[in-house]
């Protein structure tokens, strides 16, 4: 089985983002971009399928600027992906799910794929558009919020579940299809040191992105306002503290009438 897993470099979890000088976007300078969260889960899923289905290959792809795209692809190879393709595109193209799907779709035409995996949303933008857009552009079925993905060799179909508001759905899909995974229903592995060393030497195929059809233009990036201080209640007895708290909840916070 040929599996393509799409990954997006996102700022490391502890990163403190700052606006650029012109205030339009988060400044990437000095930010460490990593393979994280949803994408770690989808790489893990790809590798689990590879281990379950004989003679499978996992191909990692990323859309975006160097060197962050190369770094996450090497991280994917260190985890066990067999090969990697980097679609060279601007940060704006890569940031916007629809534009990223448009940049990637032509590259996928040249890559054999029975399954295209992605996280349900990118760890930074969280718009959740990419996988659905990619499915539409490729003209194949696409599904979001997927868990418990399996391959049924006899039927030559994937089976999986989708958790919805009302209950759990069970689905089947023919190949090829695009699947966006619910996060963290598997336990992503850690790359081993020898694999990290090996991944540094692995070749990464580079393709130029198709001319972007006008990505969305970021206008302003602001940090969330600092949280205002907590109010400490002065009291002599616990009863007094409770009375003051109830009064404040009613009169100031207006939590109840």
């Amino acid at each position: 089985m040929e599996i393509v897993v799409c990954i997006k470099p996102v700022p490391e979890a502890e990163t403190r983002l700052r606006p650029t000088a012109d205030g339009t976007r988060a400044d990437p300078d000095g930010v460490k971009f990593v393979l994280a969260g949803y994408d770690e889960s989808s790489v893990e899923q790809a590798l689990l399928l590879k281990e379950a289905v004989p003679a499978s290959k996992v191909h990692a792809v990323a859309v975006g600027p160097a060197p962050r795209s190369e770094e996450v692809l090497r991280a994917a190879i260190a985890l066990g992906c067999d090969s990697a393709t980097w679609v060279d595109a601007t940060a704006d193209t890569a940031d916007d799910g629809l534009s990223a799907a448009r940049a990637l779709a032509p590259a996928l035409a040249g890559l054999p794929h029975d399954l295209v995996l992605a996280g349900k949303q990118a760890g930074d933008r969280e718009s959740g558009v990419f996988a659905a857009a990619l499915g539409e552009l490729l003209g194949v079925p696409d599904f979001g919020f997927v868990t418990d993905l399996r391959w049924e060799p006899a039927a030559a179909r994937f089976t999986f579940r989708r958790a919805t508001e009302g209950g759990v759905e069970r689905w089947e899909s023919p190949v090829p299809c695009v699947i966006a995974l619910q996060q963290a229903w598997n336990d992503p592995r850690t790359a081993k040191l020898p694999m990290i060393l090996k991944s540094r030497k692995a070749p990464i195929a580079k393709v130029a992105a198709a001319p972007a059809a006008g990505p969305s233009i970021p206008v302003k990036f602001e940090l969330p306002p600092p949280r205002s201080g907590a109010k400490m209640i002065e009291y002599k007895t616990p009863e007094e503290a409770a009375q003051t708290l109830v009064r404040l909840l009613k009169e100031e916070a207006k939590v109840f009438p």
Binding site: R74, T190, A191, K192, L193, L197, S199
Partner: protein
Amino acid sequence: MPDFSLTPEQESLRDLARKFARTEMAPHAQECDRTPRFPEEIYRKAYDLGLMNLNVPTEFGGSGLSLLDQCLIVEELAYGCAGMTTSIIANCLALEPIILGGSSEQKQRFLTPFCQEYHLASFALTEPTGGSDAGAIRTRARKDGDGYVLDGEKCFITNAPHASLYAVFATTDPAAKHRGISAFVVPRSAPGVTPGKDEEKMGHRASSTSTVRFDGVRVPAADRLGAEGEGFSVAMRTLDQTRTPIGALATGIAQAALDHAARYALKRQSFGKPIAEHQAIQIKLANMAQSVHAARLLTWHAAWTIDRGAKGSLESSIAKCFASDASFQVADEAIQTFGGYGYMKEYPVEKLLRDAKLTQIYEGANEIQRTVIARELLRGYA
């Protein structure tokens, strides 16, 4: 000019060690310290991820990392738990004599199994009657047919109760002092090898330390490393390699102490403001930060020097000595920053002081490091 930026490869190695230290080691550090407990399951995980035997050359299945790469990893591990780190890197110390002194047949025979399966090894030099004066060891190796018979006792040997292999230093001729010493590889299974019981230690309590007795242990000549009488040189060249990572280990402890102190200082209030706004605490933190930074750079410099093929005795002694003293001072100041809470076992900083202390003692006590530094230094003036 040297370049202080790390390569992407070095950053990935450091990230791996950091993640392992923070998710697998640190959560168990307090429990292993208090019980005390030798967390073999953590050491096995470290092995599985390739974080052990960092110095074994690739031709024998190891990752053959440069000393600088090793230091980056060791600092991160020590940030999670210094005691566990001592046990994790003890294999590097025990296998280095084979890497430096072994024939290719011996390397193949002894090193390869360590890269195929989890095993621990110990470096057995120190004896009850002396560690610093390594030329005066008393463990005897008597010639016997095509081999030797070993008799004697080693002490303070890291991982000894759990090791399957020992690098043992013994003398064939006590009168010849250091020129009488030879290095041997002795399997735990050899009749007459008896590790003692775990010592009760001040720090590094997740590590295991004990005596090992050798009573009439037969060792074939094929298991002697190098020529007869070359053992002292093998031991000293081994320590020239492994001293620098001890500087990195000490730096990891110091960085942890600084991080704890700075976070606490921003939260803890006195006289109506966070203690971080009192200048006395700011000066403390500033001094701690200088020490950590200097310790790290000296360690990197020593590793860089040795990676370029130089012996680096002076540089590695400076790095180990400075970083371990800095580590002890920074841990001390972290406790002071925490005030009374710093003295409580419920808080993490008192452990750091106990752990830092060992780095001033083992792999050559700091008095000995200073002797080496002064000797190398004065040579330039004589």
